[in-house]
Symmetry: C2
Subunit: 115 residues, 2 copies
DNA sequence: CAGCATCCTGCGAGATACTG
DNA sequence: CAGTATCTCGCAGGATGCTG
């Protein structure tokens, strides 16, 4: 059956740069995954440790989409005990400043909600 | 029936500042709505014009959540022809720099995908 | 004008179990 | 270790129509 990847969800929001970028961060975990890849490549189970509560299914899904979107690269490091490293591509690096600002705003929000 | 608002979606991603902030931008239109409120207060139908393709239902939902989250303020401007103005709160202003960076990254992405 | 009501689709996510 | 399979739930969003 023809799979209808018609982009029905998130379909015709204005094609401006903001929507373009936000689209990459869809999903509750996506931004955090990119954040933990900032400093070094990480393996699947390392990322699962970084993100307490994520299921392997969701992590695999997010990583797969990030790879499709060209933000994350996949490298099979070893094969005897299977080991796969995920790292940021150039595009993934480009998006990091945006995440940094989101973190700063998030901390402001946190402080505000405490007071 | 007891409505189970258990926050099942987006529930226990690490409670870090990044997740906190990303939570406010959930939804395809949210970031754009905030963006169009940046320079001046806007009325409902003005926003609908700003965001070609959005339905009034979705716009009303997003505005309501933004109001709950404390990012947007609602002001009944006139009552004879009902007119309601939406504007950014201080918190809504705080998040603007993050959106600005997302726009810049989005433009980089756009340029990259053209070449 | 500024929405709300209703019905429907598709995706993100959780839980659990299983595999090479 | 790095996933896949199956099931269920809830939300974002579209379409259409209606209201004060």
């Amino acid at each position: 059956m023809l799979k209808r990847r018609l982009n029905r969800v998130l379909p015709p929001p204005p094609g401006c740069a903001l929507s373009l970028c936000v689209r990459y961060l869809r999903g509750a975990w996506t931004a955090n995954i990119l954040w933990y890849l900032k400093h070094q490549p990480r393996r699947f189970s390392e990322l699962r440790g970084d993100l307490p509560g994520i299921s392997s299914k969701v992590l695999a899904q997010r990583l797969r989409r990030l790879e499709e979107d060209g933000l994350v690269a996949r490298l099979r490091a070893r094969s005897s005990p299977v080991s796969i490293e995920y790292s940021l591509t150039d595009l993934g690096l480009d998006i990091q400043p945006a995440l940094a600002v989101l973190v700063i705003v998030g901390e402001k929000i946190k402080r505000r909600s405490l007071s």
